[in-house]
């Protein structure tokens, strides 16, 4: 479904991603595991197209020079140079790192803004789907999103991405900064999302322990390079992963 081929991304002369090739099949949950500065967020921004926007803005400012080599294709179309909003129309939706929601709007309004691309008559249906998925949001409907806790904001951010009815959902560090109990709840919701909507999911995460059991396949990134790949189980039982991520 999605194919990233020999991707290289430079910030000035620093190499963020080095000849990375990954592929995602339809219906899978794929995980990308890596520590800080492994290139996870850069990869997500490249797949979703946000990096092109950042690149253009930096170019105007005369700031950081961002260079992208390699190609990204989605359902047979080359999308390496496609603008982010076009990619959303094709079905690639990103839920960004650190859940940046619209803090001045209340929860329901956030979801309303998110449904910009989907038809108006589907709004109620999608809204109740999101509320079913995250019942914790229901009593907070009228609260400004800026006053929610980190976990609630993360649920809202994922809910917002779902409002667009994605074919490929990209989750950038959904567990970052959350309490372990909430991490478990979110992971359950992610499994439920796949079961109910059949959406393909790509998760980037540094917390390998909760993520590895639910993914079909996983890639391990290290300094922008592919270090390991395998099924979720293989990775879970790999001694090196255990040493590096579980502290065993």
């Amino acid at each position: 479904m999605l194919k990233v081929d020999k991707l290289m991304v430079f910030y000035e002369n620093a190499l963020a991603i080095n000849e990375l090739s990954i592929h995602i099949n339809e219906g899978e949950i794929v995980g990308i595991i890596g520590s800080n500065s492994a290139g996870k967020t850069t990869l997500m921004n490249t797949i979703s197209g946000l990096l092109l926007d950042t690149k253009l803005k930096e170019q105007r400012k005369g700031g950081e020079r961002i260079t992208i080599f390699g190609s990204v294709s989605f359902i047979g179309n080359d999308i390496t140079n496609t603008w982010a909003d076009e990619r959303v129309k094709m079905g690639i939706v990103l839920s960004r790192e650190r859940h940046p929601v619209f803090v001045e709007s209340d929860v329901k309004e956030n979801l309303k803004i998110a449904s910009y691309l989907s038809p108006k008559n589907k709004f109620k249906e999608m809204l109740s789907f999101v509320y079913d998925l995250f019942p914790a949001l229901v009593p907070l409907r009228k609260r400004k999103a800026g006053f929610l806790s980190g976990g609630e904001q993360q649920m809202l951010a994922i809910g917002m991405s779902l409002m667009v009815k994605p074919k490929l959902l990209l989750l950038d560090e959904p567990l970052l900064g959350l309490a372990p109990t909430i991490q478990v709840k979110l992971i359950e919701s992610i499994v439920k999302i796949r079961k109910e909507t059949n959406v393909t999911i790509l998760i980037c995460e540094q917390f390998a322990r909760p993520v590895l059991p639910i993914i079909d396949r996983g890639y391990v990134l290290e300094n922008g390079m592919l270090a390991l790949e395998g099924t979720g189980n293989e990775l879970f039982n790999n001694p090196e992963i255990k040493a590096a991520y579980f502290g065993v």
Partner: protein, 286 residues
């Protein structure tokens, strides 16, 4: 005095709303706003007097033309320098000077350049006689504020406006194109400027210099109210509007321009984000 202060406030609010809309959504300080205001006046005048179109038709045509003009300015000029605040200001201010001085060069000066009032006559309110045109200003000002509220809270485009205003990259990752929204907001801001011109200009003649005055007034109302906050604009236009009326009454009318400039100074010293600089409010509470 009460009534005239109210009218003056409504005038200021109408002038500032267009500027505020563009700035609040896309962060572009449209310094060509005053020029657009004056140009709108002249276009309407030309439609009425040269093409003999009815007043209502010329007004609507002008608003549409100016709206498209604003969007095109974004598309061909601002888009290239988006995100560089100083360049945006220089570019829009350049456009403003070109337009205004061109009008002066052509020689559009004189008492014949004025727009007719909507309905002639006056009524007595609280012991003073008030032109019906001035009542129109208050009424239409309220109408514009209400319709802006409805637009930004209940339509898809309006909600997208608010999304872009808050988190550009999140909006982009939800499929909202910032350039499209910014050019729309620039178009709508300019159209609101044209609307204000058509409503306010019948009170006097159309002069090139009023372009600069309008810009300063709009700017000071927006800065005092907190850039980007509609409610702040309303409060600030009341404060500045009444101060101007009182100044004109007890000092002399030519002191009124100082009020807006002085207001900018005072607010920047006391509370730089403005009375209701809403982006900051949340940060302070959390």
């Amino acid at each position: 005095m009460f009534v005239y202060g109210l009218i003056n406030s409504a005038v200021l609010a109408l002038m500032a709303l267009g500027f505020n809309l563009t700035f609040g959504i896309s962060g572009i300080a449209n310094f060509a706003y005053g020029a657009i205001y004056v140009v709108a006046g002249f276009i309407t005048w030309a439609f009425i007097n040269h093409l003999n179109l009815p007043y209502a038709v010329s007004a609507i045509l002008t608003i549409i033309i100016i709206g498209i003009f604003g969007a095109l300015v974004y598309k061909f000029i601002i888009k290239r320098i988006r995100g560089l605040v100083i360049s945006e200001v220089i570019a829009t201010f350049g456009i403003s000077i070109i337009l205004l001085e061109l009008l002066r060069f052509i020689g559009l000066i004189g008492f014949k350049y004025s727009l007719p009032v909507f309905i002639d006559g006056s009524v007595e309110i609280l012991g003073v006689y008030v032109d019906i045109q001035r009542l129109f200003i208050i009424g239409l000002g309220i109408l514009v504020i209400i319709s802006l509220y409805v637009f930004t809270h209940h339509t898809k485009t309006g909600l997208a406006f608010r999304g872009i205003a808050q988190e550009e990259h999140t909006s982009l990752s939800l499929g909202i194109n910032p350039d499209r929204i910014a050019s729309l907001s620039m178009g709508m801001g300019s159209a609101l400027g044209a609307f204000a011109a058509i409503v306010i200009l019948p009170l006097g003649t159309i002069t090139v210099d009023s372009g600069y005055d309008v810009l300063i007034n709009a700017l000071s109302v927006c800065i005092v109210g907190g850039l980007g906050s509609t409610f702040g604009v309303i409060i600030a236009s009341f404060i500045i509007g009444y101060t101007q009326t009182i100044t004109a009454m007890y000092l002399a009318p030519h002191w009124t321009m100082i009020v807006s400039l002085f207001a900018i100074l005072v607010i920047l010293v006391i509370k730089p984000s403005g009375l209701l600089g809403h982006q900051k409010e949340l940060e302070e509470r959390v």
